[in-house]
Homo-oligomer: 286 residues x 2
């Protein structure tokens, strides 16, 4: 049995806030509190970003997205899905203007695993308890509507449960099953935190078996782009291959945001005229 609760009263988090103490106090005042040995805390990345001063003026939004992004994954007009420096695939690189004052935007924590490790160390030092920390963010998915919360930082928690080598009750080996536990913990926590109630922290109680001193991190959940079948959106995959085949691979980032007509014109500009008809047909089929 697990119990999940999200205390009220964390309040506004400023730069350099004493987040660990704020969380301990808020949990203590909750009916589920105080913290117990083996609890896993799921902390919304937004308050980590605030405590770490990861904000910027709202007017710099596009520049910040570009700075946070390593590569474009898919783009349609103003919507840019990118791979971030830490490997996350996120719309707008996770740059967001919700739950922050209107003139500011928030960036994701620079290294959410390190943030989780620091917060865990502080929480454990202040309480004397063995705890786990997950930092969660909200993201869209391929193939499915809506968003879910998943783990972008973790410390002291097993992030993946590997069943390889284990057999079910029928003796069948479970070859491919690897459950992304940290993502499931983050998703579960969202069910009590919500997005509007001012409850950015949840406590998951009842899976103390998931606590670990192994150096597992949420980065373990990031699939290497090189082995990812879905490294690019379908249209972008065609563009990447076409640019590579026509000797203009380096133009991908510059061209990815263009409309269909602009894109065809830009790509054809540097193609062998003999290839123009086929190149245009392929682009129109993408």
């Amino acid at each position: 049995m697990i119990m999940i609760f999200a205390p009220d009263g964390i309040g506004e988090v400023g730069a350099d806030a004493a987040l660990a103490q704020m969380i301990i106090t808020a949990v203590r005042a909750d009916q589920g509190g105080p913290l117990r040995d083996g609890d896993i805390l799921v902390v919304t990345s937004k308050i980590i970003s605030k405590a770490e001063g990861r904000s910027a003026p709202a007017a710099e939004r596009e520049a910040m997205i570009t700075a946070e992004a390593v590569s474009t994954v898919a783009q349609r007009g103003p919507l840019r899905i990118v791979r971030t420096r830490t490997g996350l695939v996120q719309a707008a690189a996770g740059v967001d203007n919700s739950n922050v004052s209107a003139e500011l935007i928030l960036l994701l924590p620079a290294d959410a695993d390190a943030s989780a490790a620091r917060l865990r160390a502080e929480l454990q030092a202040l309480t004397g308890l063995r705890l786990g920390v997950i930092i969660s963010d909200t993201a869209g998915r391929a193939w499915r509507m809506g968003q879910t919360d998943h783990a972008i930082g973790a410390s002291g928690v097993r992030v993946i449960e590997r069943y390889a080598g284990r057999t079910d009750a029928y003796g069948n080996p479970l070859l491919v099953t690897e459950m992304a536990l940290a993502d499931e913990l983050a998703a579960a926590a969202d069910l009590v935190k919500g997005k509007l109630a001012g409850r950015p922290v949840a406590v998951v109680r009842g899976r103390s078996d998931l606590l670990t001193d192994e150096p597992e991190t949420a980065t373990d959940l990031v699939r290497d782009a090189g082995s990812d079948f879905f490294r690019y959106g379908s249209r972008e995959a065609v563009l990447v291959a076409l640019l590579a085949a026509t000797g203009q691979a380096e133009r991908f980032e510059a061209l990815a945001g263009l409309s269909d007509d602009e894109l065809a014109a830009a790509v054809l500009e540097r193609c062998d005229p003999a290839d123009a008809t086929l190149v245009e047909r392929i682009l129109r089929s993408a």
Copy 2:
């Protein structure tokens, strides 16, 4: 606060099993039991498939995957990620041989939303309670390692929470936030069910506000393929565009499983010889 527990003692589920009664009995014997008004039951699709007789001989695995699949999304050798008749994107169309005897495979429920509605009606009739039912399955994701449980069937539960039109505490409108609650409920339930413990049903207690009589279903969570940026794997997207541009679009399903060399040979076979060099270069860049 929510509480999630997974009762022991559901036992082996045969074809035409009285699943509702089995669940009620098992929950009653659990420390979290009996069922209460507002509980949401998350039921692993496997036992629904068993109760509905959705099994086949293990030797028919490939034929069954083909029968369940509407289109290939990505394929590398024996690994086939397909879109199923119900719109799910799933490795091997969800055809699985775990937690079933070695000579059998299980297919996903034919219509998991209908299965959820039937089970909910039975559970409510037997208990007199207002309940929700989600049918969960385990699936991989783009961009992230590991699998999570998500919802493939739902009845009586709000599957998506739409924040559009609502504002946060700072007055910012939450334009794009739509949380896939049913997927988060399924993920949360996996944290207590696991894959090996013989606990295929979890009860989520504490979110009775999510119960609804609106006709929401897990199919609402399926993104329409036509609007999906990630409709195909990157390699498959290139192949689709190339085949369309060279007048052989209908060959995609037949060619998707070929190795790089076989694929180049097969595509070039029907291309204008003048295009051969570019076509091969594009395929090699995919």
